[in-house]
Symmetry: C2
Subunit: 299 residues, 2 copies
Amino acid sequence: MASGGFKTRHLAVVGLGLMGGSLALALRQHADKITGIELNAVSREYALDNKIVDAATDDLKAGVSEADTVILAAPVQMIRTMIERRIGSYLRSNTLLIDIGGTKHDICEAMGKLPVGIHAIGGHPMTGKEISGVQGSDGSLYKGRPFVLCPTRRTTPATRLRALELVAALEAIPFEMEADRHDHLVAAISHIPYLLSSALVATVAKEGEVDPTVWELAAGGFRDMSRLAGQDVQMMGDVVSTNTQAVATLLALFRMQLAMLEAMLISRDDQKLADFLKPAREARINWYQKYENGYKNGK
Amino acid sequence: MASGGFKTRHLAVVGLGLMGGSLALALRQHADKITGIELNAVSREYALDNKIVDAATDDLKAGVSEADTVILAAPVQMIRTMIERRIGSYLRSNTLLIDIGGTKHDICEAMGKLPVGIHAIGGHPMTGKEISGVQGSDGSLYKGRPFVLCPTRRTTPATRLRALELVAALEAIPFEMEADRHDHLVAAISHIPYLLSSALVATVAKEGEVDPTVWELAAGGFRDMSRLAGQDVQMMGDVVSTNTQAVATLLALFRMQLAMLEAMLISRDDQKLADFLKPAREARINWYQKYENGYKNGK
């Protein structure tokens, strides 16, 4: 066990996918014991064989009832259901409960109704990989990446400090904010991009019905703009459908920007068009530089 | 000089950027002499020093008047201006004139008014690189990538065959089609994606004015979706503003797809949402597989 910083006697990770497996690996030196709770037998087997966890079970109650730290690493709707229906009665008092769901309002609200004595706080790490599944687990997945923490009615000052230590153990960068603010920000940088990507692919597919050559000409620009549309539909559908208000607000803002661009094009106002495109280009270049050199490495 | 296939006595490449420099490198073994025409002295110097061209000049007339093959590798509006205003009177009869501009209607129309005896055909290679400038020149840039050829009123059967030989010399995949069809297809896979990317960055920038943390949380999804917004504004502004009709048509189609997605979200119709997202996901995955394994390698 590492000296100082985050320590836990018994860590339970609910959901052994890419995110959960990577959390277990990253917290290996900080936990005396790690139990994985997972319905999929193949994933359990893999996590055990590769020493990602010390024990594995498909029984939520048995898996979490002895833990002093529980991380919910499942899809958003499933996290919410676990919190609302069962997990409160399984947990010991003084347990730290944190999740990594992509939207925070519903989850944090549900956490606020847990029994007093549960240290519950919402979490959302801004990281991932192309592949999914526990087989891709990577102990450095969270390193240098933002990890948002959202307070709930069950977040005491001690909860907050333990969560910050956990984030530090992952070598992630903590961002503390209210759930609604989080949901608004991720609508802009994650949910709208996903919807745009899916709508773009649907548009090209419509074209493809008339003229299939469109697929053969598509190159690197389309590749990047369509990547998000290839993500898991259950996971992303969950995320956007639990954030409809923020998504609708940001979509309205996006439509305004696109309408302005279109008006400039149709009116053939090249100067206005350049005046729109140039600051967008500069903003992207500035951000990318910081992302590559700073944000991404935790500077 | 390679035996068989494309041969030229004197190739003139107008515009020594990434695309023009790469063309010169790829056609090195097929040309007795290559002249680069470029206003920027640093680019000329670089191309000469690195034996990308045999001669370089900033004088269009001097550069093209002895050539039997001329490739216009400049931004769209500049290509059009060169064709409309000057180049017809500089070229020898029987010269093959081809361009690589990103929209084809205006250019092909202008080519159609060149003196009889000029072998003019529109071209558009679907390739590129992150970087621009002659310093990034790469003889394999066109290899395995689509190269669209669009006929003009100055395209004879002989013109077409010479152009196809040129494309074969680049090891690119020829796609022959009318200019309008090309412009419609690239609106879907290239111009709309660029506008979406720019409008997305503008949307996040608006959010950033209120809450700058949005930039710090942005991760891989935003990185991919914003990349195109970082492209050269002059080049892309030129491209979209010379293709307004097709862009407006495709934007209307895109807006319909996005509106459908939004309606499903707001009405919380998770089944319909999944029914929309799943085929988009499958279309993307199918395309990507073909792009990586087939289209990209000319299979």
